[in-house]
């Protein structure tokens, strides 16, 4: 199957998804949804990496995407653990209540 989609289209999709992730971080106040928006932004960056890797004919971009996925898995695990601890202490997870470092 011949590949005919220009690189800039993939980059446009990537930019749109990234902007929506940023918007989600800004407008939502549920930390779980803020986390999901961060994942959306990481995913948009990954898409740009793979598109550039294809365009330049090198594999380095794909390898970097693999590492980004690993790091984001670790980040999600730690972040969700923190959310659980905050819920245990404050019995709520509204981001407005997380204004002090002391539990």
């Amino acid at each position: 199957m011949a590949h005919t989609i220009p690189l800039s289209w993939y980059l446009a999709i990537s930019a749109a998804l990234f902007a929506m992730g940023a918007l989600g971080v800004l407008i939502r106040r549920n930390p779980l949804i803020i986390f999901m928006s961060v994942e959306l932004m990481l995913n948009a960056a990954n898409l740009a990496f793979v598109a550039f890797a294809r365009s330049f004919g090198v594999l380095t971009g794909q390898i970097f995407v693999f590492f980004v996925m690993t790091v984001s898995a670790a980040e999600v695990a730690v972040g969700l653990a923190l959310i659980i601890i905050i819920f245990r202490n404050k019995h709520s997870i509204d981001v407005d209540l997380m204004n002090s470092l002391k539990g």
Binding site: H3, L7, M36
Partner: protein, 174 residues
């Protein structure tokens, strides 16, 4: 209009629509399911770009492991029906303006810089998938062996950290 183009347009529409769904849905579980849909469409984008390993890793790691973790926490906390707090009046318009500025900047950069490189979109007509997989594996285990091993240490640290963080002290109530 060939098949790839139609597929691309449909996938792009689904990806953008599911991202909007993530932003507007009130129920956290629905938001998580919209995100799974988005990850799946991005995985098909990877397949279109000739990266089958990344596409399958996307499905297993993101749509599988990470989203299961998310859903587990949502249901553990009962966070799908949180009470709505009061909203700052200027927060939403401000956020929309900022996101629009970000998108405009990205678009401007894209179309300024890509005028030079728009022609080189695809140097090789088609990639031999098996050979590409072989090259990827060899590169991962030779040239990038040290970062690969470091990620395993990173995952171990994250795992130990999560266990320590969520462990209850002895005698601490519920």
């Amino acid at each position: 209009m060939n098949l790839t183009l139609i597929l691309f347009i449909v996938l792009a529409a689904v990806a953008v629509a599911s991202a909007i769904g993530l932003l507007v849905s009130r129920n956290t579980v629905y938001a998580a399911l919209f995100l799974v849909l988005n990850f799946a469409t991005v995985a098909v984008f990877y397949l279109l770009l000739g990266a089958p390993f990344i596409a399958l890793a996307q499905v297993t790691i993101y749509a599988g492991a990470i989203m299961v973790l998310f859903l587990f926490v949502i249901m553990l906390l009962g966070a799908d029906k949180l009470p709505r707090g009061q909203v700052l009046p200027w927060q939403r318009p401000m956020a929309i303006v900022l996101a629009a500025v970000l998108l405009a900047e990205a678009g401007l950069l894209l179309f300024q810089r890509l005028k030079l490189t728009a022609g080189l979109a695809n140097p090789e007509a088609s990639v031999n998938t098996t050979q590409a997989l072989q090259t990827l594996g060899l590169a991962l285990f030779s040239q990038y062996l040290l970062p690969f091993e470091v990620t395993s240490v990173l995952l171990l640290v994250a795992m130990v950290g999560v266990i320590v963080l969520t462990k209850k002290e002895k005698g601490e109530p519920g």
